[in-house]
């Protein structure tokens, strides 16, 4: 902490502020360096806003005094408001540092706030319109009841609290201008500002699973239509952008996706910084260029949406910008969830980046979710390729680790770049209760090879280093086998694919005998005879002959995306095909190896439905997309992750910071053994104390859902732009099975592999 010691304020109570443990975080300059480096968030040079602890102290003081007087606690933004009022009243400028004397006066005032307040409602009256207050109170059934309830309503998670209250006497508009640039929020009320003023919390620097769980355990789950406590972050429709929102929701909940995306960007940053370092080292003029000093970080702010003015060694391509914006979006959503904010977010930056990358999305028309998905995945894949290319071109950047098992945990030796999948896989085998088999050790067509796990010679680095999580997780290999019926010669063509096109008008003879779950296997693995006018030119016979062509799947990806071809092109244009096709929750794998197994035996792996994007509408030209996802989040990949940032990148002050924070949270230490979870206080299993990848706190899903294997929650989440709903398993399957509802049709199906 810089300078101000909390001891200055008198009567500071060390009551455990458990509920605010994530809120009061100082972000020092080094922290911000760190954050910019790894999370590509802009350096916020309004340092005073963040670093000035006077404000913090003032707020604490207000809180303390109010608590002492009324026994109630205030929410963050309420405190913010009061603090601002005090500043205003003292004619102090919000963002400027103040003298000690001024500080002392402020604190005096702060202490007196509580004394003035005979009740919270009185305080409210100070600030708000009476009428509005009463209305609000009635709607939210405000009572001077338990702090929890009060807090709940104040946070306003319920739909009803979307109304904004008019304010009076609030210091004007300095607030908006001080908002960090990277988020563009609509002209909403000033209420929102408080959410951002706390700024982005980049995870507990030394977080553990128990910490994470504890965060989550704060909220209750309620089922049913309204879910006031399911604070999953939502996206606002910016005008026909449901195609984008549905895809974003889906990707967010796709297993391992967020985790991998995070590491991709971390790796890219690390390479970039390393290259910059090397550049300045070799700079002959000796000028300590812009490489490491703080000013350079500033230039890489989000203001530069394009790569103009970018100070990177390797100019950023549009694909990389899309990737970064996508990650930033997930970070924001993470923060919204952490804060428990009810407000939907507008993913404008990402949309703009996509528009820059592909003119298809320009303008405000409705777009096809599948096209967006394909484009987005393409950007990500190109970015992965770029990372590989940079590593290939600069093999000296990679320090080869010692090939021992000990190196798994020895982060400082590993550079943070992708390691062999094999090592995490071994660990994963121990956890037998894992539900989703996300780590697939098969290699897709030579895509992922890891040379770090081999011998420590730099020669080994010459072996092609290829890692591409998009290819690993989404890519499969299809096989087109053609046999000429004259000479009976077989020719095969292998093709990688990122999604499977599924024709809807499928007719087959034994449809009654076949189970619904086998439907996709039956549709996708096809065999047709090339004959009549459509004969096959055989190179051996040198003529057109009849041939048998089969399409089968050599390898099916971890995340299999099925694109239902719900459109036909005809003379009258594109028409939507609304025919019913069952959407089974579980399907047997239909890759070639599994297909050869007898029908009575079980295949070694199968697929579970994890997300669905439904299309509502009678035509493809106009309609609406709604995304569905399982109401559960897998976190095993975070626990087993060995790809963390090396410790050397953590600044020392931040360590101090974490230690200092701990002082306030008495009774809670790192890796404590007690934690509160859904079922009450219980003993953590040793696993929970395992090191958790930081990315979980950066951009992971933070809303309260079931965690891992502890419960068997079969619920589903429905994302209709900013409206989120829980559906029970039965409700969901009923909806999928509705045949009469002709125009609400599943369009994109995401199945994830289960061993």
């Amino acid at each position: 902490m810089n300078g101000h010691s909390p001891k200055k304020s008198a009567n500071f109570n060390t009551r455990p502020l458990k509920t605010y443990q994530n809120r009061r975080r100082k972000r020092s300059l080094e922290d911000q360096n760190f954050d910019n480096l790894f999370h590509l968030l802009p350096y916020d040079n309004k340092a005073t806003l963040i670093v000035d602890s006077t404000l913090e102290i003032v707020k604490w003081t207000i809180e303390e005094s109010v608590f002492n007087e009324t026994g109630e606690s205030l929410s963050d933004w309420e405190l913010e408001k009061f603090a601002k009022i005090l500043y205003d009243q003292a004619s102090l400028e919000w963002n400027k540092p103040i003298s000690d004397q001024q500080a002392k006066n402020l604190l005096k005032e702060a202490r007196s706030v509580g004394r003035k307040a005979s009740s919270l409602s009185y305080l409210w009256e100070q600030v708000f319109d009476d009428q509005a207050v009463n209305k609000y109170s009635k709607e939210n059934k405000l009572t001077e009841g338990s702090p929890t309830k009060r807090r709940k309503s104040c946070v306003g998670n319920s739909k009803k609290s979307n109304k904004r209250l008019p304010l009076k006497n609030l210091p004007n508009n300095n607030l908006k201008s001080n908002r960090p640039d990277f988020q563009e929020v609509p002209e909403a009320s000033k209420f929102e500002f408080s959410n951002y003023s706390e700024n982005i919390v980049f995870g507990q620097l030394q977080g553990t699973m128990s910490d994470y769980k504890e965060d989550q355990s704060y909220h209750h789950i309620t089922n049913g239509d309204s879910m006031p406590d399911y604070n999953v972050a939502t996206l606002l429709n910016m005008g026909n952008t449901c195609f984008m929102n549905s895809v974003l929701y889906t990707l967010r909940f796709a297993p391992t996706f967020l985790h991998n995306l995070h590491h991709l960007l971390v790796d890219l940053s690390l390479i970039n910084s390393k290259l910059k370092e090397n550049k300045t080292k070799t700079s002959s003029l000796g000028r300590n260029g812009s490489a490491v000093s703080g000013s350079s970080w500033r230039s890489a702010s989000s203001k530069d949406l394009l790569s103009i003015g970018n100070n990177d060694i390797i100019p950023k391509s549009k694909d990389q910008i899309v990737t970064e914006k996508l990650h930033a979006l997930f970070v924001t959503m993470n923060n919204l969830e952490t804060k428990g904010s009810p407000d939907p977010y507008q993913p404008e930056a990402l949309l703009q980046a996509m528009r820059d990358a592909n003119t298809l999305f320009e303008g405000n028309q409705q777009q096809d979710a599948h096209e967006f998905f394909v484009e987005l995945l393409s950007c990500l894949r190109v970015t992965c390729d770029k990372l590989n290319e940079q590593i290939e071109q600069n093999p000296d950047l990679i320090k080869s680790p010692e090939p021992t098992a000990a190196s798994i945990n020895n982060n400082s030796k590993i550079w943070g770049v992708r390691r062999s999948w094999k090592k995490p896989l071994k660990k994963k085998d121990k956890s037998a209760s894992k539900k989703n088999g996300d780590f697939e050790n098969d290699v897709a067509g030579g895509d992922s090879e890891d040379n770090l796990s081999s011998d420590g010679n730099s020669d080994s680095v010459k072996k092609k280093f290829v890692y591409n999580f998009i290819a690993e997780d989404f890519q499969g290999v299809s096989l087109h086998r053609t046999q000429c019926l004259q000479c009976e010669e077989v020719s095969e063509l292998k093709e990688p694919f990122l999604e499977i096109q599924v024709p809807i008008n499928y007719r087959d003879e034994d449809s009654e005998s076949r189970l619904d779950s086998a439907i996709f296997g039956a549709i996708c693995v096809t065999s047709e005879k090339l004959c009549d006018q459509n004969k096959y030119f055989c190179e051996i016979c040198m003529r057109y002959n009849e041939a048998q062509r089969t399409v089968l799947y050599e390898k099916l990806p971890n995340i299999m995306v099925l694109h239902l071809k719900r459109f036909t092109t005809s003379m009258s244009g594109v028409q939507k095909v609304n025919n019913f096709l069952p959407t089974p929750l579980e399907i047997p794998c239909f890759c070639e190896n599994c297909n050869k197994i007898e029908k009575t035996k079980i295949t070694p792996h199968k697929y579970q439905l994890s997300c669905v994007i439904m299309h509502l509408g009678a035509s493809m030209a106009s309609g609406h997309y709604i995304a569905y996802s399982r109401a559960s989040v897998e976190t095993y990949d975070y626990i087993e992750c060995t790809r963390d940032i090396p410790k050397s990148y953590l600044s020392s002050s931040s360590k101090d910071l974490s230690v200092n924070i701990l002082k306030f949270f008495k009774g809670k230490g790192l890796g404590n053994t007690l934690s509160e979870n859904q079922n009450g206080i219980g003993l953590n299993s040793k696993k929970n104390d395992a090191h958790v990848c930081q990315s979980l706190h950066c951009c992971g899903i933070r809303c309260k859902l079931n965690l891992g294997s502890q419960s068997h929650n079969d619920d589903w989440l429905e994302f209709d732009d900013e409206k989120v709903k829980i559906l029970s398993n039965k409700e969901f399957t009923d909806m999928l099975n509705r045949r009469h509802d002709s125009t609400n049709t599943p369009y994109l199906l995401f199945y994830s592999k289960v061993e």
Partner: protein, 641 residues
């Protein structure tokens, strides 16, 4: 010759020719079927090169050429007098076997005709193919067809769901069996045309069938490698013989149905005893998959045909062989040698010569305009030859014909469809016409070839004065067919003058051919649009005022030489004043000199930063130097003398 014509469809007609020798004595490609005439000791072999050859004592007698595609099956009937053939050109032809000429052509099938079956006692033949229908023909009626009496009725067996690959009938004609990609055998009664039953059991296409004399048993060979013996009365399979490791494509049964001779894709011929299927003997191992077999006169040996062009005769095992007392011979008893087939062909850049490579790796050079082989280069490196000949002279000629190698010989197709046969205009000099009055006069390759092909036909009146510079040999077959459809007529170039031939040609030759040969005016040149801009180094004072800023967008015939463009630059674009008078101004002795005092040779044209030789024509520049799809851009600059 009588023809049974179906209605003329509206499909476009193309003209084709086959570049072959005057007498093709040897099979060029695989042999699909064999028939033996015991009386004359003649072997009839149906080749993939569309020719049926007759050999007597292994000596070539004559070839029966009339089909235009693979001949898939043949049947010798009427005691050896007539031959019925089925081909992939969708026709069934009736031949006079002794003389070797085609008597009639049956056009009822709509797709490849793959198999024939013969009922000797009734003189009835059945044909079947990919159009899933089986037609029954009475041979006596067929052989009595004439030009005036040219209709024949046929009964058909309908019901097969898939393409038929094999057919068999017993001599009395009481049962007919078909094998198809449906994998199950279908049985019919040809007398009543009623479907009898289906025999299921095979897991792949059935490609070989044999029926016993009395019609009680049937044996089938399939691509699943197995041979199944069926009892027709009981409608079930009584035996499965697994002696082959790959598909079974040919079957023969001995006279008394005691032994089965089978051959297939594994290149082996095996004899199996029906009573004891474990007793089997390998007759031979050929060097290519076996397509067909047939007995010799005394049935002690068999002729075996494969996808190679050589047909060999192998001895069949006898008792002593079965008892393993003596080994089977490893060499054939006799052989009818075949020739190599062209397996690869590349059209050279001059679009007139074709370099080919055959199955013996021998490379040869053909001239399309002369329809003949020019040079046999021997087993040289194919690719090197192509590169050498292509780089010798940089010339671009548009595509004007299509090429096809399905018969193992070069077939050239001329049409007006995707490839316009009249698009190749070439200067007489480039075409190698040495005695043309105007060397720069443009000739059209397509027209030249068509003129040569129809030279002897009275139906086209060529300009008496115009000399025919190219001729083709008279034995070259001329074929008129629908594009992507059936053959309409086939005639040798030298025979086009005959009465009947003439009449038939009148009916089938399309108008576009006639009008182009007769019409002497040059028409339909291909134009090229291009921009002509001054290079930066051209001093602007030399440019005429009105041309200063505008990039000239010009259109010209694609074959004009760049020299002409340079002349245009000189005349129109450089120099002061508005017009140059040819005789006046300047020194006036050379026509190529204008007011500015430059000569044509000083005008250098560049395209994509490469300088362009004046003798090159525009289309060559556009094809080889200007790689983009947008209009050609040429820059001109002045170089010193």
């Amino acid at each position: 010759m009588a023809n049974i014509k179906t209605q003329n469809s509206r499909k476009k007609v193309q003209v084709s020719m086959v570049i072959c020798e005057s007498e093709e004595r040897k099979h060029r490609s695989g042999v699909n079927a064999l028939q033996f005439d015991p009386q004359l000791d003649r072997l009839y072999s149906a080749g993939r090169d569309s020719i049926i050859r007759v050999h007597e004592h292994e000596r070539f007698i004559h070839g029966m050429e009339h089909h235009t595609d693979w001949v898939n099956d043949i049947v010798l009937c009427c005691g050896g007098r007539h031959l019925i053939s089925a081909s992939s050109d969708t026709t069934v032809k009736v031949w006079n076997a002794y003389k070797g000429f085609c008597m009639s052509t049956l056009r009822t099938h709509k797709d490849y005709v793959k198999a024939l079956a013969y009922a000797k006692d009734k003189e009835q033949v059945a044909s079947a193919g990919f159009d899933k229908s089986i037609y029954l023909w009475d041979i006596n009626t067929l052989t009595a067809l004439t030009a005036s009496n040219n209709t024949v009725t046929t009964s058909s067996l309908i019901g097969s769901k898939e393409s038929i690959y094999s057919l068999a009938m017993n001599p009395p004609g009481t049962i007919i069996v078909s094998g198809s990609t449906e994998k199950a055998l279908r049985l019919w009664d040809p007398r009543s045309c009623v479907k009898q039953c289906k025999l299921k059991g095979h897991t792949e296409t059935v490609k070989a069938l044999v029926v016993s004399k009395d019609g009680t048993q049937c044996i089938s060979g399939s691509s699943d490698g197995s041979i199944k013996v069926w009892n027709i009365g009981q409608q079930r399979c009584v035996q499965t013989i697994l002696v082959h490791t790959d598909s079974v494509w040919a079957l023969l049964a001995t006279e008394n149905f005691t032994h089965i001779i089978s051959g297939g894709r594994d290149k082996k011929v095996v004899v199996t005893e029906l009573k004891n299927v474990h007793c089997s003997i390998l007759v031979c191992t050929e060097d290519a998959p076996i397509l067909k077999m047939c007995f010799t006169n005394d049935q002690t040996a068999i002729w075996v045909s494969t996808s190679n062009s050589t047909v060999k005769c192998w001895k069949l095992p006898m008792e002593r062989h079965f008892k393993a007392e003596i080994p089977m011979p490893t060499q054939p008893t006799s052989m009818i040698a075949g020739d190599a087939a062209i397996v690869k062909a590349t059209v050279l850049n001059d679009k007139r010569h074709i370099l080919t490579k055959d199955s013996c790796s021998v490379v040869a050079l053909y001239d399309v305009l002369r329809a003949s082989k020019i040079e046999n280069l021997g087993p040289v490196n194919y690719q090197n030859e192509i590169n050498a000949r292509n780089s010798a002279k940089l010339m671009y000629v548009p595509n004007w014909f299509n090429m096809d190698l399905k018969t193992g010989m070069l077939t050239i197709h001329l049409g007006q469809d995707e490839v316009d046969c009249f698009s190749a205009w070439v200067s007489a000099k480039d075409a190698g016409i040495s005695d043309h009055p105007e060397p720069d006069h443009k000739v059209n390759y397509g027209k030249l070839l068509l003129q040569a092909l129809f030279e002897h036909w009275r139906g086209v009146q060529t300009d008496q004065e115009s000399k025919i510079y190219f001729t083709v040999p008279k034995h070259i077959p001329l074929i008129l067919s629908e594009i992507g459809g059936r053959t309409l007529y086939r005639v040798l170039v030298g025979d086009t003058g005959g009465e009947t031939e003439n009449a038939l040609l009148n009916e089938t030759v399309p108008n576009w051919v006639i009008s182009n040969i007769e019409d002497n005016c040059t028409s339909k040149f291909t134009k090229v649009q291009f921009y002509l801009k001054p290079h930066a180094s051209v001093p602007s004072n030399l440019l005429k005022q009105d041309r200063l800023k505008k990039a000239d967008r010009l259109v010209a015939n694609d074959f004009i030489q760049c020299r002409k463009v340079a002349e245009h630059v000189l005349d129109k674009l450089l120099g002061e004043g508005t017009a140059t008078s040819p005789g006046g101004g300047g020194d006036g002795d050379s026509q190529t000199q204008n007011n500015s005092g430059y000569t044509v040779d000083q005008i250098q044209l560049t395209c994509s930063d490469q300088s362009v030789d004046h003798s090159m024509d525009l289309r060559t520049v556009k094809h080889f130097m200007w790689k983009y799809s947008s209009d050609l851009v040429l820059f001109y600059k002045i170089i010193s003398k």
